[in-house]
């Protein structure tokens, strides 16, 4: 009598034909229209930032004495030589905005790079080792988080001296705690999984466990926080610039441009609205994109 018997499983085990991870990710990301809009916006500004020297019609610091506070070209008194008008010392707004993009995006990348780098390292160590080290470091992080970020940044800059580099440093320090907490939570979750214990039984040392085994599994929340960190970084640097503690003249940076134009809000509103609009668009773009990334990377949030 026939029976269903064991046949060599080598021939008969099919592996599921699931779509490639990247394809699946893109499918969920695409579904979120806001995220795609965000991506496009950021892409646009990135392009502008990279191509700044070739896109700007005039050098950003060149003074045109004959064209002080010209309104944008479509308004009465405007001139298409200076499409978005000029500021109070005769510098072309469009060129300054374009070069400002380079500075601001650069700030965002640097801040995220620095804070994520240091924060991730601290989070990995705290999460993996635990104990006294964890307690002490986390209390320090708690203190850092308890202080209002902009005040802290101001204090740091005041100590180190007001320039763009110090503003970036200050903003990075302020952004570290969120990365530390995030990564630490991820590490704590992964540490209990059997694959980490299995690696331990094979003799994996701490370095291998942390960087080769656990870190790649903490990337999803890290990436999301990174994109949101961009917008925080740009906003903070802009705030510092507004207070005169960041980029110093004549460097074109959106925050400093806002600050310089304070007294002209009523008479030459474009001097304030245009840089403000740029900051708004970039921050909004990063936030939308970050939301979409989070939804696409976390299977539980997928609709």
């Amino acid at each position: 009598m026939k029976q269903t018997v064991l046949i060599n499983p080598m021939e008969t085990i099919p592996v599921s034909s699931e779509p490639h991870a990247a394809g699946e990710f893109w499918y969920f990301f695409r579904k979120n229209r806001g995220a795609v809009i965000g991506l496009v916006t950021i892409g646009f500004f990135l392009f502008v930032a990279v191509m700044a020297p070739w896109l700007a019609p005039h050098p950003p610091s060149e003074l045109f004495g004959e064209a002080l506070r010209l309104p944008p070209a479509w308004q009465v008194g405007g001139n298409w030589r200076f499409p978005l008008g000029t500021d109070d010392v005769g510098r072309d707004m469009l060129s300054r905005l374009i070069c400002g993009a380079r500075v601001s995006m650069g700030i965002g990348f640097l801040v995220v790079f620095l804070s994520a780098g240091v924060g991730t390292l601290l989070g990995l160590v705290c999460g993996y080792y635990g104990g006294i080290l964890d307690s002490v470091l986390m209390r320090a992080v708690d203190v850092l988080m308890a202080l209002p970020s902009i005040l802290l940044a101001i204090v740091v800059v005041s100590i180190l001296g007001p320039n763009l580099f110090n503003a970036i440093l200050a903003t990075s320090v302020v952004a570290i705690p969120s990365f530390v907490r995030l990564v630490r939570a991820s590490v704590l979750e992964q540490k209990t999984k059997s694959y980490v214990i299995a690696s331990k039984t094979f003799g994996a040392g701490a370095f291998r466990q942390i960087f080769v085994n656990i870190l790649p599994n903490c990337l999803a929340p890290l990436i999301v926080q990174g994109t949101l960190g961009f917008s925080d970084g740009i906003l903070n640097a802009a705030a510092l610039g507004f207070l005169g503690l960041g980029a110093q003249p004549p460097t074109a940076e959106w925050g400093t441009m806002l600050s310089d134009a304070r007294s002209f809000i009523e008479s030459s509103p474009w001097l304030v609205t245009l840089p403000g609009l740029c900051i708004l668009l970039v921050v909004l773009g990063f936030n939308l994109m970050g939301d979409g990334l989070r939804d696409a990377l976390d299977p539980r949030l997928r609709k």
């Binding site: 064991l6 060599n8 499983p9 080598m10 085990i13 592996v15 599921s16 699931e18 991870a21 999984k193 059997s194 694959y195 214990i197 299995a198 690696s199 331990k200 039984t201 094979f202 003799g203 994996a204 291998r208 085994n213 790649p216 599994n217």
Partner: protein, 316 residues
């Protein structure tokens, strides 16, 4: 037949300190005096329900934790003297959860050859080759090596786990509930694979399970544990053919049989006691259907009855 068993464990104990209210320290006695001897090509099954200490036992044997007391001998020599590097080549482990025991970010061949990467100086191509050989041993195709764990089913992932455990050519495999999370038909495939590998590679298994039916099919020797203590231990055919301890009898009676259609009354009442608060005397006395007054006062000792060891006042 080897004269000296490969792995001899004598009176192993594992206690965990616990802080009770107001700083008073208590202890959880997770494993209390377990002894056994494992020979080549033999399967010793450790059976028990939650809280019986089987996971703590496995952790002590794998050196994930260190025992509080007791002796572990390897081929007659003390195991503690063996450097961990060497120890890993003798004993390895298969885990219960097929979904958590593989790193989701690594390719399968990488996962399987990880023990080789850490413990040998093999080149990448050599390791890859070794991984492919191991994969074919467990019934996976070469192209599976380049995929990620999430593309495989539970049974296939368990095969990957087995291949990984065999990478360092151990002599003993500790199998911690390897088929509990799998479907019946896949369970059968994995059990068959384990039996084939045992034959082919002369492996010994320490098979931890709560499922007596599965244990029936794979074990040579069975050890039944209740709240950290051995209640009955002996050849599988004796344990299943004529179980002597009331707990063993209850376990067998509680296990559903596919050929028995009559309604069976639950043989044991009451909840499994917590290891934080063990009952006095015999740990099982509160739930035992045949307990006598002596059982609540005096802890029974393990006695040899025929080829088995039983710890019960009613068995002489």
């Amino acid at each position: 037949m080897n004269a000296t068993p490969m792995l001899t464990v004598t009176d192993l104990r594992k206690h965990y300190p616990v802080r009770k209210l107001f700083g008073h320290f208590g202890t959880i006695k997770a494993v209390e005096g377990v002894s056994f001897a494992l020979e080549r090509k033999q399967t010793l099954a450790i059976v028990g329900e939650s809280g019986c200490g089987k996971t703590s036992l496995a952790k002590c044997l794998m050196r994930i934790e260190s025992p509080t007391a007791g002796q572990i001998l390897w081929n007659g020599g003390p195991m503690e003297a063996m450097p961990t590097r060497e120890f890993r080549r003798h004993i390895q482990m298969i885990f219960q959860d097929p979904y958590g025991s593989l790193n989701p970010r690594k390719k399968v061949w990488n996962i399987i050859s990880e023990p080789l990467h850490i413990n040998t100086s093999m080149k990448k191509s050599e390791r890859r080759q070794a991984a492919l050989e191991l994969m074919s041993k467990v019934g996976l195709r070469p192209e599976h090596g380049n995929r990620y764990p999430h593309m495989f089913s539970g049974g296939q992932r368990q095969r990957i786990g087995i291949a990984r455990a065999l990478a360092l050519r151990p002599e003993v495999l500790i199998c911690d509930e390897p088929v509990s999370a799998l479907d019946i038909s896949i369970q059968a495939q994995i059990l068959n694979l384990l039996l084939e590998l045992q034959n082919e590679l002369d492996l010994s298994y320490l098979f931890i399970s709560h499922d007596l039916a599965v244990v029936r099919h794979i074990a040579d020797i069975v050890m039944v544990i209740y709240l950290g203590k051995v209640v009955e231990q002996g050849p599988a055919k004796d344990i299943f053919g004529s179980p002597k301890h009331p707990y063993t009898q209850s376990l067998i009676a509680s296990t559903p049989h596919i050929k028995r259609f009559e309604r069976q009354q639950a043989p044991v009442r009451g909840e499994i006691p917590s290891p934080m608060n063990p009952p006095s005397g015999c740990a099982f006395h509160k739930r035992c259907p045949v307990a006598i007054p002596q059982c609540s006062n005096e802890e029974p000792k393990l006695q040899k009855i025929g080829q088995s060891w039983v710890s019960c006042h009613l068995v002489k």
